[in-house]
């Protein structure tokens, strides 16, 4: 017995612990959280239902009592009426007085047994008067039995009798009315309940949907934005925190991860670009090397025969050609060097000239022509030298790939009409890009090039870079007429917000 009870005690303590935990959880989760809102709503519903159920049970109980009591009241009424009938019989025929007394006693018994309830229904004074009349009537009946049948005694008897009947009737009527009220209440209560329930449900529905739908919409926008390469973190706008705040944290973590991966992607794309450029650079490097080799060989061969002046000329050539090699190597290394993003005011035309020099060999090898048209007095732009070179090199190489021999690439740089941007147009008169391809061309890993010629990262990476610098890339192409990629880069007079954060 003792063991069982101690077990029960432990069980009970556990139960309390669980409830405390639940309460603590609700307290720790701010009310804004959807979970807390759901818990509170369900508790609210539960309490409401419990209230209504208890109320109904109580009402049924009271009704039951009332029905019972109405029966008692009816019995009392019947007894009183019997008494009066026997009284009349006695007065007319002189019989049945004993029956009247017996029924009067029965009525009195009912009255005394239910005194408290009657007092409650009729009021203390009223019921006291009722008892008083009954006592009086009883006395008169007793007098009657003793043979007192004077006119005054009769009047008293009749008065007490009729009062007793009135009281009994009132008693029954009041009880009926009370029961009627009870029934009406029982009929109306469910309607009120449904009303309250409806209001509560509408309120909860609106609050929850607003929170859910609005948050979901917000996150849809974020997803779209992230998909387009904008990796700025999500800022908490609400003053409370809920499940969506945790989601936002997760999103920010993901964005950080994505940004990191994007960096890697940019680097790997750059490596591919370097791979392409290296072929051209190697070719380009062979020219000064060959010049040095030929000059040095001839200097060695004819050393004794050459004049001082010729020797000097040859040595100067060799120095000059070595410097040329050095410049070629340095340009590639500048492009290839891995470095932190370093945003500063830059001259876009200088960067474009460097980029053109880097791809000069590809242009020569592909036998395409290149025209440049730079506006005078371009404002300085905000950007990272290496990143911009990567974008320009990529766009020019794409144009070269798109063109057949003798095709033409036109590069123009202008100040845009909308202030704050300089635009670089890279146009080719190649076959153009079909419309269904245009829509997907900036997607990562989308490529139109043959397998092994490209992995489809160039444009997506370029767009990522330009977005990060606060600019944008657009595309205009008509099949058969060529393609123009336009890169808009913010100038230093309108520093971009995104950029200053990077």
């Amino acid at each position: 017995m003792l063991i069982i009870s101690s077990k029960e005690a432990i069980q009970f303590l556990r139960e309390i612990g669980r409830i405390m935990n639940l309460l603590r959880m609700i307290r720790n989760h701010p009310l804004g959280s959807i979970r807390a809102k759901l818990i509170v709503s369900f508790i609210g519903f539960f309490l409401l239902c419990t209230m209504i159920s208890v109320g109904s049970i109580w009402m049924l109980y009271v009704l039951e009592k009332k029905i019972d009591f109405l029966e008692i009241a009816n019995n009392y009424m019947v007894e009183i009426q019997q008494v009066r009938r026997y009284e009349k019989n006695y007065l007319l025929y002189g019989t049945n007085l004993g029956d009247a007394v017996e029924h009067l006693n029965l009525a009195r018994n009912i009255l005394t047994q239910n005194q408290k309830t009657i007092e409650k229904i009729l009021g203390r004074n009223h019921s006291a008067t009722m008892v008083q009349y009954m006592t009086e009537y009883n006395d008169q009946i007793a007098n009657l039995g003793l043979g007192k049948r004077s006119q005054a005694d009769m009047a008293l008897l009749r008065n007490a009798g009729s009062q007793m009947v009135t009281f009994a009737e009132e008693f029954v009527t009041k009880e009926r009315e009370a029961m009627g009220r009870m029934f009406r209440m029982a009929r109306h209560a469910p309607v009120y309940f449904i009303g309250v329930l409806l209001v509560m449900m509408i309120f909860i529905f609106i609050t929850l949907t607003r929170q859910l739908v609005m948050s979901l919409n917000r996150f849809m926008t974020y997803t779209k934005r992230i998909g387009e390469g904008d990796f700025t973190p999500i800022l908490q706008k609400k003053h409370y925190s809920d499940e969506f705040s945790q989601l936002a944290d997760a999103f920010n973590q993901m964005v950080k991860e994505l940004d990191h991966r994007h960096e890697i992607l940019v680097q790997s794309h750059k490596l591919r670009a370097i791979g392409t450029l290296v072929a051209g650079v190697a070719h380009e490097l062979n020219n000064p090397l060959n010049n040095s080799m030929l000059t040095a060989s001839m200097l060695k061969e004819d050393f004794g025969l050459l004049s001082e002046e010729d020797k000097m000329d040859m040595i100067d050539d060799m120095i000059h050609e070595t410097e040329r090699s050095q410049r070629i190597v340095r340009e590639l290394l500048d492009f290839a060097r891995e470095s932190e993003t370093h945003i500063k005011p830059l001259k876009v035309e200088a960067i474009m000239k460097d980029s053109i020099r880097l791809v000069a060999n590809q242009i020569k090898m592909a036998k395409v022509r290149m025209d440049v048209d730079f506006s005078e007095e371009l404002p300085p732009i905000h950007g990272d030298e290496q990143m911009l070179k990567q974008v320009f090199v990529n766009l020019i190489l794409n144009a070269v790939d798109a063109l057949p021999a003798k095709g033409c690439i036109r590069i123009s740089i202008h100040k845009k009409e909308t202030p704050g941007y300089v635009t670089v147009d890279i146009n080719d008169d190649g076959p153009g890009i079909p419309e269904h391809v245009q829509a997907r061309i900036f997607e990562p890993f989308f490529t139109t090039k043959a397998k092994g010629k490209g992995v489809g990262l160039g444009l997506s990476v370029s767009r990522g870079i330009i977005r990060k610098l606060g600019g944008y890339i657009t595309l205009a192409s008509e099949p058969g007429k060529g393609t123009t990629f336009t890169v808009a880069i913010p100038t230093t007079d309108f520093p971009s917000k995104i950029m200053s954060e990077t």
Partner: protein
Amino acid sequence: MDMKNIKIMVIDDESIVGKRLKPALEKTGAQVETFEDPESALAHFYENPTDIVVTDIRMDKIDGIEILDRVLAKSGQTKVIIITGYATVEIAREALSKGAFDFIAKPFKPSDLRVIIERAAQDLTP
């Protein structure tokens, strides 16, 4: 064929190539003309065809393969030697299939080219 009667034309848009190859190739006894501009070189060739043409493959206006085609069209027995800056199998194969005598990759020593030229001279029908 005696080297003294052999005429060589060198075409390369790098001026130093012509400047250094002229004395180097003249050591073989041949007569050497050098050109930086492929167009004027071709114009000259149409009037005075040479026995051997040494041309760079990659030049701005006309490339070496085109020169090869036009030289051979004009004078079938002329030996064309291609200089490539960036030796690739494809370019070499293309040049040889089109009738080039041989190719030499930059950077090279004058003596390497002289060996090829002497072979070409022996191949020339007198």
